[in-house]
């Protein structure tokens, strides 16, 4: 697509192997998903090397789209810069519709016939999650396949109204075994942050038989726990103020343990101490230093 003032808008895909459309991976769809794009870049590099060494199974094809939205990333905007729309709220897209509907349509046309689909996603909730595979409960979700990433958790979430226009939801409806990977922070390109999702996807590639790749199988994995919404307890902020967090994702907490404080931004007094309501593990925490009243600040995966 041509732009009035900028270079041509292009979306690049990298194909590996020849044959059945087996796996499609989509990276950044928003301009701040640099982590997701970087993970895809690492995968492209690894898959190039694997293809060169003949490690991709015959008759299987992998498609990697590192970015569906380079324009927003280049101007450091999360959404489409002209009108603020979100490509990941436009699926399955419409080729005669508005600009981001057309982009979504073009992407979806390229990826909808693959057997497996992976989106490197970011949540509308800021902050850090425990690394997990996320599935929407559409009736088409495949939990057993999601376990093949070997990440600590598979989270099966009931769709909210806006989910019906996301890639993950539509991919599932169109019969792709689709999931989203949450394993890092949007703009974190540190090796540590990228290693977890790269390893998980390489494990998946080996586990579903796309590649016979010994080092992929040897990557350490977790005994994946499957969660649904009932397994997670959301803690809302009991006050507005400065959010002072005392733990991190994966931190094991006991019922009654103080895990955060809300501080008065003028005199430093403690407006509220937040105690864990249960024994469990911190699954998600707010990524901002300020909080409003009743804002979700933690999700605790409770122990049974």
């Amino acid at each position: 697509m041509e732009s009035p003032y900028r270079d041509t808008f292009r979306i690049w895909g990298y194909r590996f192997g020849i044959g059945e459309k087996t796996l499609a991976i989509v990276g950044a769809m928003r301009g701040d998903e640099v982590h997701q794009q970087f993970v895809c870049a690492q995968l492209v590099s690894k898959l190039e090397s694997m293809e060169r060494d003949g490690m991709i199974a015959p008759g299987q094809e992998i498609l990697v789209i590192p970015s569906a939205n380079p324009f927003s990333m280049n101007v450091e905007k999360r959404f489409w810069a002209l009108d603020g729309t979100d490509i990941n709220r436009m699926f399955p897209g419409y080729d005669l519709g508005e600009t981001t509907q057309r982009i979504a349509s073009g992407v979806f046309e390229a990826i909808k016939d693959y057997k497996y689909g992976i989106q490197l996603a970011s949540s509308y909730q800021t902050g850090e999650f425990m690394p997990h595979v996320r599935l929407l409960k559409t009736g088409f979700e495949d939990v057993e396949t999601a376990k093949l990433f070997g990440l600590p958790y598979v989270y099966v979430r009931a769709p909210k109204p806006f989910d019906t226009t996301t890639l993950n939801y539509n991919w599932q409806i169109w019969d792709t075994k689709a999931c989203s990977i949450y394993a890092g922070k949007n703009n974190d390109v540190s090796p540590e942050a990228c290693q977890v999702p790269v390893n998980a996807i390489m494990r998946f590639i080996v586990n579903v038989g796309i590649a016979d790749f010994a080092s992929g199988a040897n990557r350490p994995s977790f005994n994946t726990i499957v969660l649904d919404d009932q397994d997670l307890v959301t803690i809302n902020s009991p006050a507005a103020g400065i959010f002072q967090n005392l733990c991190s994702p994966g931190h094991e907490v006991s019922k009654g343990e103080i895990i955060a404080r809300i501080i008065d931004p003028y005199d430093g007094s403690v407006r509220s101490e937040i105690a864990s309501p249960c024994d469990g593990v911190v699954f998600h925490l707010l990524g901002k230093p300020l909080t409003l009243l009743h804002t979700p600040i933690f999700m605790i995966r409770k122990y049974q």
């Binding site: 519709g97 109204p161 009743h294």
Partner: protein
Amino acid sequence: MIKTIFETDLPVDEQFSIKKNTITNGSGKKRICIVTGTHGDELEGQFICFQLQKEILEEIDMLDGTVEVYPALNPMGIDSITRGIPNFDLDMNRIFPGNPEGTVAEQTAAAIVADLSGADLVIDIHSSNIFLREVPQARINVMTAETLVPYARHMNVNFIWVHDAATVLEATLAHSLNSRGTPTIVVELGVGMRINHYYGKNMVLGIKNLMKEMGMWKGQVDSSRIVEPIVSQGDSVSFVNAPASGIFSTETHNESIVEEGDSLGQIIDPLSGAVIEDVKAPCRGYLFTIRAYPVCYEGSLLARIHRLV
């Protein structure tokens, strides 16, 4: 009487509040509510709220019932020139009916729905966005058309667009209220970030005309200024999307009848001086939307036309 219907603390020394003004007179029990400011970049409703109250208070004895005005459902958005809710990056008109136990945005939405429920009529005023200029129009879902179109006919709008059921947005204020039995009409007029006084005064006239029909207003309304709207039903709207990217240059005004093949404007290239596309009307019809923001990408909405035979 100004009342706060919801308030909460912001992080640093500030109260967030949603306010309404209630004007009551006479013994009539009917209540009409004017709500606006859901999107922070839509300002036409601000003038309408002011002008309506000014005119009612000048003839307060003519009022028989209650008028409630909610000028800012998203006050932080209006104050920061942000379409959505600034702290949440959320479109406020996608979170209704809200949740009294949820986030601040959800609690706000729940308080608004609770306060408006039971009104005889709610008018939810929008003014498009910064990209599109709209003729004064009512937008009504086909499922509520039987109830709402008769109201809308009195509102001095040029156009009534009865949407398909498929286009229902369940999380909107109008859908939430209509599904609870509170009749709610969405009005769109003008363009974002601007106030068109002519449109605003005509809308105030229309609201008073409707109040007269409802038995709430005993004063004079100049009926010669009330227009008979075009009612569009059953998929009779054509969308014109940009066939190419560039600057959309147009001298076409909406509120006009266009013939098939008429030029609606040109997509031009300021660098080369070339005309990239001459955008033509795909059908004969009533032009009720025209693009106001010149920069367009392939696919950007340029115009909407109600097809006429």
